[in-house]
Symmetry: C2
Subunit: 319 residues, 2 copies
């Protein structure tokens, strides 16, 4: 439904109240998009390509409410979905949020908390919530669909365009989320480390600038640098050789390679375009990208400092 | 994610297998939309308005696997979301499906069954699946986001345009889903009755023709004719008086008014446009719409056969 209407979910005693809280939290954004009708009506920019992606966050599977607030869950759900748009070089356009809430007491606070986190992430990323649905469920589930547009030539960046000789860049240090979670569980996390886990930021601006600078292939490293690099190499039919992996403060090399839930982007592009990208990031006040290696023609060659790098990915973290 | 990649969901032992089954079931549609990248890339028709809606189906809340197959759940999830687009007069464009599956054995069959049902509904409605996500969860959850387009003048039909004097039509008899569920539980359902519950059909073509015929307001009656008529009247600032409610075979008047999960549409339009609509439905080989009453200016007047009609809605059916 376009509006979060009380559809087929009558077990929530306070559901109307929850929906009002959600509308209140989202504020003017809902009205602007006609959220009280059956579907959201969206005026897209002319001559742009639409991209769309969906991502799900499940309590006890992807998030642990003992180390994050409901607001963190909402934030992570929206940013996780947006990170996939960032990897295409797309501009965020709008999000639709399906919220499944456990029955019983307290669902109003949970719903409000999650929704507030979604709204904060939406505001931070410039991606208004344009539709939603609320249901009862055994556990908290937040499914976020994001829509984005690609202007200019309208061609998004795929995973499959990397060519031998391309430079591989990453937009920031890796492993911060895994290190943050470990610190939160041990009660030793710094504010920055906790934020890396609880409030990760999708690299939307970076992705758009990388596309404009000539990126040939791009992927976010939300399942870990190693696994996602393998995916990019598989899709492009190439290999890679890495000579540097920037490791976040407090993180291990294993966190950086396989910790996951980092929303940095890996970009493959020509050496000349890599210089352009670096200049554009600097002009935009963004953190300088780090050169981690290069693309090679032998697709069986997947090396870090001359040793084979396995495609190990995100490991289940909760429960 | 555009492709149903194995993201943050590593508890499913056979998840790669599940994903391959899903790709196989969806077949060529996935390739056509570049489903193996981070996000789906969608070429929209020029000069059309985009509409979007999300709807969630939760096992034990909205569906009962003792009276439906996994395929029925997938079908109902897609059609439920599409019904909201139908109510706007939009043409289906594509769907993104987030699938949360219980862990443990058998999730491959469950995933395949649900996905097959989604694919059957997608084919029946001409709404290809363009993106997806698979996660583990405590219970089966299917969240479907649908995208649609409105051509012509690009103006979708809202709930809020009904005017005093308008005719109210419904696209078919009401209460069939509730009657079907009752019959399935009692073991007495006819094939038609079972289908009404298990394989409801969103009135997509009817909604598009109604828009073209001049519909001023429209809503689907998935929460029951009475509640949804009240919503349409509230949004339009009007009342209504009904003199006929078509009741489906095996259904009671209470089923027809409040059973819910019927995907018929209620349309408000001028008497002249109602005649046009009826002719166009006939030309298209669609069931003739039924005139149920008319719109009145007093918004407090909400009558059926001269008696007040309460806005009772869908009642929780499972568990």
């Amino acid at each position: 439904v376009g509006s979060p209407k009380p559809r087929r979910s009558t077990h929530l005693a306070s559901e109307d109240e929850v929906l009002e809280l959600i509308r209140h939290t989202l504020g003017d954004r809902t009205e602007a998009f006609g959220l009280r009708d059956d579907a959201a009506v969206l005026g897209l920019p002319a001559a742009s390509t639409l991209v769309a992606s969906v991502d799900c966050v499940v309590e006890g599977v992807h998030v642990d409410l003992s180390v994050c607030t409901p607001g963190d869950v909402g934030w992570k759900a929206l940013m996780g979905a947006l990170s996939d748009l960032a990897a295409m070089g797309a501009a965020p356009f709008g999000a639709l949020v399906a919220l499944c809430l456990p029955g019983g007491s307290g669902e109003g606070e949970l719903a409000l908390g999650v929704t507030a986190g979604v709204a904060e992430a939406a505001a931070a990323a410039g991606c208004p919530v344009v539709g939603g649905d609320v249901s009862e469920a055994a556990q908290l589930v937040v499914a976020v669909t994001v829509l984005g547009t690609v202007g200019g030539d309208g061609v998004p960046v795929s995973r499959s365009g990397a060519r031998p000789g391309d430079v591989l860049l990453v937009t920031g240090p890796c492993g911060a989320s895994a290190a943050g979670l470990r610190g939160l569980r041990a009660g030793t996390a710094s504010t920055d480390a906790a934020s890396a886990y609880r409030r990760p930021v999708a690299r939307v601006r970076e992705g758009m600038l990388a596309r404009e600078a000539g990126a040939r292939a791009m992927i976010d490293i939300s399942d870990g640098l190693a696994l996602d690099l393998h995916r990019l190499a598989d899709a492009s039919g190439v290999g890679f050789t890495l000579d540097d992996v920037p490791v976040a403060p407090g993180a291990s090399l294993a966190d950086a390679l396989g910790g996951g839930e980092d929303y940095e982007l890996v970009v493959a592009l020509s050496a000349r375009d890599a210089d352009t990208l670096t200049e554009r990031f600097e002009s935009a006040g963004l953190r300088a990208p780090v050169r981690i290696g290069s693309v090679v023609s032998d697709r069986a060659e997947r090396l870090l400092n001359g040793e084979p790098l396995e495609g190990l990915g995100w490991q289940h973290r909760v429960g």
